[in-house]
Amino acid sequence: MSDEYENNKSGYQAQSSEAITGSAGSTSPDIDYVRPAELPEQDLYHGHTFITKWVFCQDAKVIGVQYFLTAVFTGIVGLILSWLMRLQLGFPGLAGFITAEHYYQFVTMHGMIMVVYFLTALFLGGFGNYLIPLMVGARDMVFPYVNMLSFWMFFVAVVILMASFFVPGGPTGAGWTLYPPQTILEGTPGSGMGILLMLVSLALFVIGFTMGGLNYMITVLQARTRGMTLMRMPLTVWGIFTATVLAMLAFPALLVSAIMMTLDKVIGTSFFMPTILKAGEVLEYGGGSPILFQHLFWFFGHPEVYIVALPAFGIVSDLISVHARKNIFGYRMMVWAIVGIGALSFFVWAHHMYVSGMNPWFGFFFATTTLIIAVPTAMKVYNWILTLWRGNIRINTVMLWCLGFIVTFVNGGITGIFLGNVSVDVPLSDTYFVVAHFHMVMGIAPVMVIMGAVYHWFPLITGRLLNETLGKWHFWTTFLGAYSIYFPMHYLGFIGVPRRYYEMYDSPYMTSAVGMNEFISLAAFLVGAAQFFLIFNVIKTLKTGKRAPKNPWKANSLEWHTSTQPPEHGNFGERLPVVHRWPYDFSVPGAKDDFIPQTTPPSEMVHTKVEKT
């Protein structure tokens, strides 16, 4: 490879001198030239009281932590619900208080909480808020006040969701997909207040998220710092940004279906309700289309899968690159894969509906588009592995989580290819194979990335390093435990154990399932308990943990190069950083250190073999 900057020196000069003519106060043209700022400095509202500093705060970092903590709280509720479900499945009748109705309510709330209120809020609200402004070099989100409203709207949505546990009839038990007509008919648990609160909570979540999503999008598109082109953004930002775009376009379908179902429930319209005979009597509903709800729901639901997955893809790319001390393999390919997966995700939704009784020709279309998604996804997996290839890998906790992610994701992705084919899906549909698939691919895999991200960015947020020993215990128990849960579930699916069943009773062909269910349940208790390693670790670290040096992982991206660590409100002190390169210049031949921060100007790197970015 040639010496990039030496050769291009004249080119840079020509470009910069041409650009500088006409602007007042020009400096001498040099290779460090970055064109001036287009926009004035953002004027921020700095809180003074406890309320404006920590509660109704307009600082994206505080909002991010608020999102994070609220999402983790809902996640713990979801975890406890999963324990209760496994208690029933592994040892039926042991816990007498779990009736069939309760079981369905646990299933429903576990699903909805984990997908929407935990993962979506945590990745986009939590990591998005904290990292986007820092990584693109902005002082804050572009509309801080709207950003604050976004969190509080989410908070109200969570409160309403939790309130549904305490209303008469309990929360809805219709399954997280809320399929009509049974969702709002008597006989389904929580068909009264429960479903209503769920729909209201979802609508508020959508409104709150829209406010946040506009912020994330405009901050990435319109508020980057000088020199920060789209192709110099860390992949974390790309992942979160693309996921936000998906959310802005997919959540409307959820909002619409929530509104229509609320009308069906409250004032008795029949959008989704066909003519129904109940105990010999015809109900007042008639003429509606239940499958319409499924289409609307999955038009939201499938992009939602990628709303969870794309930020994980982005974050894990950065973590792998930093901790393998190597530039990410095929950065542009990675970006285009993220964008491509995002775009394709709007054309695949009905692969969740192969057995729903939709137009049978759709299977052909949706199986094709679904399998096409495997191409960019596989590209990403290869690129992660090629990034690791001959890297200077540090086997620390963060890297362990990343490696765990790759394995888990490949596993879940391959079962996804099974299920994407109509003829394979039909017998496997509604069995534990599906449960194993989606928990691997959008449950365990993104959670592994979250864990890795927590260990990675904890020093940035708090200034202290998490304990590595505890972290490794946390990883190995979680990783092995999660495999003990979900690997046997594939087998359960193959022998035909149906999902969402309260109990298997004495089905003779399922005798081998009994022992396996017990084993899975024990593993599930263990994995849930293992998360207390993290909680204990966080508490211990906050009290007595090792103080982190500045930029402890020797990373290049802007969030580690703020004026203070943790960064203050306004992020970068007096001056915004000026970006000269991508964030992946690791182990560059000829460079003094094995990393070159994004702010290092080319003139300091003249005799190194950096890539042109």
């Binding site: 650009a19 500088i20 006409g22 602007s23 970055v34 064109r35 001036p36 700022a37 287009e38 926009l39 004027d43 921020l44 509202y45 572009v142 509309f143 006040y145 709207v146 829209t210 999503g213 506009l214 999008m217 405009i218 598109l221 319109q222 508020a223 980057r224 710092t225 000088r226 020199g227 920060m228 082109t229 789209l230 192709m231 110099r232 802005m248 376009l249 959540f251 409307p252 379908a253 909002l255 619409v256 279906s257 509104i259 229509m260 009308l263 004032i267 008795g268 319209t269 029949s270 959008f271 007042e284 008639g286 003429g287 509606g288 289309s289 319409l292 289409h295 609307l296 038009f299 970006v579």
Partner: protein, 238 residues
């Protein structure tokens, strides 16, 4: 392209070459576009998806109902001098909304020319147009309810007719009403001179006011009109 901004140190190329160089540049992708305006555009795309989902649901619902769909031309007819005229009220509503859209477009134009008086009066005219539209919609709703059309059923045919009618026009009417409220607020702000002499600090923001806010408001208002074009075609004419 007359509205291209001038940006220090960056050459704005026209057409698709410009698109490539804008996208590849640092700092901003939409050159010279105000943050609020970009936000409104993205929001409108999101809102387009909301209305599209409503209309798609309507198509699916109407297409698959085995009961006959009422003939909108007859249902929405209005007696003028004793003769039933099909869709008369809807035609008037369309007229009013397009009128208000035109005044809004002119208000944006005069806003950029810093013509405070003209801009304010035109926004006020737009608001009154919007108010008239909402009033006519109230009349339309009450007339239909009087004739026995309910969200859960109606005497003319498929029950989904009333359901979709009230939901879609109601959701659109809500958008119009919110727009009217903001039109009145911004008419006040323009008359009070909040955008003169460098601008006054707005609510909930530390950014100074600027006439670009009128364009942002205009985008929303034209979007409401745009949605009506589709509702008019799909619900009333189809």
């Amino acid at each position: 392209m007359s509205s291209d901004p001038k940006i220090d140190g960056f050459e704005l190329k026209p057409g698709f070459r410009g698109m490539a160089s804008d996208t590849g540049s640092d700092q901003t992708m939409f050159k010279g576009v105000h943050w609020g305006k970009a936000m409104m555009w993205i929001f409108l795309v999101s809102d387009t998806f909301v209305f599209s989902c409503f209309l798609i649901a309507y198509m699916k619902g109407r297409g698959s109902t085995p009961v006959e769909w009422p003939n909108p031309s007859e249902v929405f007819a209005l007696d003028a001098f004793g003769v039933p005229v099909p869709l008369l009220l809807i035609a008037l509503m369309t007229f009013v909304l397009i009128t208000s859209s035109g005044t809004m477009a002119l208000a944006v134009k005069y806003g950029y020319e810093k013509n405070r008086k003209m801009c304010g009066w035109l926004i006020l005219a737009t608001a009154i147009g919007g108010l008239t539209f909402v009033g006519m919609q109230v009349y339309e709703w009450s007339k239909l309810i009087h004739e026995g059309v309910r969200p859960w059923g109606n005497p003319f045919g498929a029950a989904q007719f009333g359901s979709f009618f009230f939901m879609i026009t109601g959701f659109h009417g809500t958008h119009v009403s919110i727009g009217v409220i903001f039109l009145f607020i911004y008419a006040y702000k323009v008359f009070a001179g909040h955008y003169e002499n460098g601008g006054k600090r707005g609510w909930f923001t530390t950014m100074k006011g600027d006439y670009v806010e009128i364009e942002i408001l205009g985008l929303y208002w034209h979007f409401v009109d745009l949605v009506w074009v589709f509702i008019f075609a799909f619900f009333y004419l189809w």
